[in-house]
């Protein structure tokens, strides 16, 4: 093996030294020094502190002006690092990407919506979704609708219709064939209490099942399908003096959903009562 030159030897030794100070080596060296003397001096390594400082804004430390290709690659890296740290920058990036892909310039609302869609997995708007996501969303819709209608059918056929029938029969014929406890439940004066209790239980069971479907499919139904939520998503944070507007709208829509189920059941009971009056 040929003899190493002095410069080569210096370079290898330098690399060896840097190796020892990297990957947490710097602070462990300080720990070693302070540990032996039982000292309370700081063991935070200047090297590691500098690395930690420069990591979040590593772009700023680059003194040279990047070329256009560098700039675009930096943009891509930045966008993958943080989805929307700077809303204005995000809009510009979207515009730049649209220009690259020869698409027509998107309107402001769709830009705002796509910016907002980056906030969470469940936030993705249907327009910006991949075909596989759209198929998944359609499947999720099918499962939710099936649950909704099956629950409704079960409630109406298996409970509300027979119960309403029994209540009206109890009032009309005053039969004593029912047990004492059941006759208490079928008393017309207790109808609203029993109906409300049943609704609470049924709605709770329905929402538990809905949540398990959402968890299975990893899709939030209201976020993905509600047009109102999508419209609210377009409103940038801070424009309206209501914090977390979207969250509040989602909660309100959930209450509306519960209320509409309740109202639909009352309507059904009223229709059944009307029909039974003529039987």
């Amino acid at each position: 093996m040929s003899e190493l030159s002095e410069a080569e030897k210096r370079r290898i030794l330098r690399e060896r030294r840097q190796q020892k100070f990297s990957n947490g080596g710097a602070s462990s060296r300080l720990n070693k020094i302070t540990g032996q003397a039982d000292s309370h001096l700081s063991t935070d390594s200047p090297i590691e502190m500098k690395t930690a400082r420069s990591r979040p804004n590593s772009k700023d430390t680059t003194p040279s002006i990047p070329s256009s290709s560098d700039a675009s690659s930096q943009m891509k890296t930045a966008s993958s690092d943080s989805t929307s740290n700077d809303p204005q920058l995000e809009i510009l990036k979207k515009l730049a990407n649209a220009d690259e892909s020869n698409e027509s310039t998107p309107d402001l609302f769709s830009l705002l919506r796509s910016m907002k869609s980056g906030e969470g997995d469940a936030d993705k708007s249907t327009e910006s979704m991949a075909p596989a996501d759209q198929a998944m969303l359609a499947y999720h819709d099918y499962r939710v609708n099936r649950l909704k209608y099956m629950t409704m059918l079960f409630k109406w056929v298996c409970f509300l219709f027979p119960y309403t029938y029994l209540v009206t029969r109890n009032a009309k014929f005053n039969v004593s064939c029912l047990p004492e406890s059941l006759s208490f439940l079928t008393m017309p004066s207790n109808f609203f209490m029993v109906f409300t209790s049943f609704e609470i239980v049924a709605i709770s069971v329905y929402y538990q099942r809905l949540q398990s479907i959402e968890a299975e499919n990893k899709i939030n139904t209201l976020h993905s399908t509600s047009k109102i939520v999508q419209m609210v998503s377009m409103v940038p944070e801070g424009i309206i003096p209501i914090p977390n507007l979207k969250g509040k709208v989602v909660t309100a829509l959930q209450y509306v959903d519960v209320l509409s189920t309740f109202v639909a059941d009352i309507c059904f009971v009223l229709v059944v009562l009307g029909l039974l009056m003529y039987i």
Binding site: M1, E3, L4, E6, A7, K9, R10, R11, I12, L13, R14, R16, R17, Q18, K20, F21, A26, R29, L30, K32, I33, T34, Q36, A37, S39, L41, S45, P46, I47, K50, P63
Partner: protein
């Protein structure tokens, strides 16, 4: 592959590439003695080259170490043809600036401003700015680079810095990076407001602000490049074999590495080597040497890839060229506590 690191500074002293050598460490560990020793050995081993030893420590003791007065201008050490010394004096430099301002003011109509400066207002004002010592040291470096580029005045092949204690030195070494960032921002502003700034600030004087800034930026960038080039610049850490000194040395090395500066040499001063000195082996020396050995072992373990030079504690003060020459030989040839023991008693006590 032979990658053993010599326990001396032979490679540095005989280096023909290094232009800037910084010598630093905690206060009172022997920085001036070490930097003077390095400068002397370099000058002796490379007689065809010119060396300059600059003290950037506001509390100068270079003059005391050599036993002759040095000022703000480089002056040759008596008895050496290729070694000059200078002490950067912030107060004197600021006074010069003040005087220049007065003279330029008196060329005009002698207004209120020059009256104010007659009392040394500029020197007082700027002298109180934190970090002014480092800034002036930096200006000195820039001056030398400019001279070398233009071939003006006395040229030096290598400049050795006897630096101030660690904190000052780190601020000084951070200056190129900080200035580069600052000038980048300035360039952005002047790029936009350049013509307006030029007309405001340079009215009547034909001063091209943008041009000046670009020139300054280029100079700072040159310094930054040179300071981070391991073939041109290196840092020699000086310490003593005690806990606080070792801790500060480790932090200094890590700081320097974070600035991408090369550091590969450590001078451990004031070692007693008591067990080898049968004649003067007192109990206090023994227990102190025991403590020193404990930290020396740690130094050997932590810095196996560094040039660790172990220097003895001498009987007298190391002052004057002759004493420095005798002492500095151990930078080249490792100190042998048995055969070299008489040397530490030979040093003449200047006091």
């Amino acid at each position: 592959m032979d990658l053993n690191v010599e326990r001396n500074l032979d490679s540095l002293i005989k280096s023909t590439t290094h232009k800037w050598i910084f010598v630093g460490g905690k206060g009172g560990v022997g920085k001036t003695t070490s930097s003077s020793s390095i400068a002397i050995q370099m000058a002796l081993n490379q007689p065809s080259k010119q060396f300059l030893l600059i003290s950037t420590d506001p509390a100068h003791n270079l003059s005391d170490a050599f036993g002759e007065k040095f000022g703000k201008d480089a002056r040759k050490v008596t008895g050496m043809d290729n070694l000059s010394c200078m002490e950067i004096d912030p107060a004197a430099a600021l006074k010069d600036m003040n005087d220049m301002a007065i003279s330029s003011g008196s060329n005009g109509n002698g207004d209120d401003l020059s009256d104010l400066l007659q009392g040394g207002a500029l020197a007082d004002l700027t002298g109180s700015i934190p970090g002014i010592d480092e800034a002036l040291s930096f200006m000195e470096v820039m001056k030398h680079i400019k001279r070398q580029e233009q071939g003006e005045g006395e040229r030096f092949d290598c400049v050795i810095f006897d630096t101030a204690p660690t904190g000052h030195t780190l601020r000084f070494l951070q200056l190129p990076t900080t200035l580069a960032k600052l000038l980048d921002k300035f360039s952005e502003i002047t790029g936009k407001l350049g013509p307006m700034l030029n007309s405001f600030m340079g009215s009547g004087n034909n001063v091209d602000i943008t041009g000046k800034l670009n020139e300054l930026k280029a100079n700072v960038e040159t310094i930054r490049e040179q300071f981070t080039n391991p073939d041109l610049t290196t840092f020699v850490c000086v310490c003593i074999s005690e806990f606080l000194s070792l801790y500060e040395t480790e932090r200094l090395i890590q700081e320097l590495m974070s600035y991408d500066m090369d550091v590969n040499s450590i001078v451990v001063n004031q070692l007693l080597f008591a067990e080898f000195d049968k004649e003067h082996n007192c109990k206090r020396c023994q227990s102190r040497w025991k403590m020193q050995k404990k930290y020396l072992d740690q130094i050997d373990e932590l810095y196996e890839d560094f040039h660790v030079v172990k220097m003895p504690l001498c009987a007298g003060e190391i002052r004057g060229l002759e004493n420095l020459k005798k002492f500095s030989q151990f930078l080249l040839k490792e100190y042998d506590p048995i055969s070299d023991n008489p040397v530490i008693y030979e040093l003449e006590d200047k006091n």
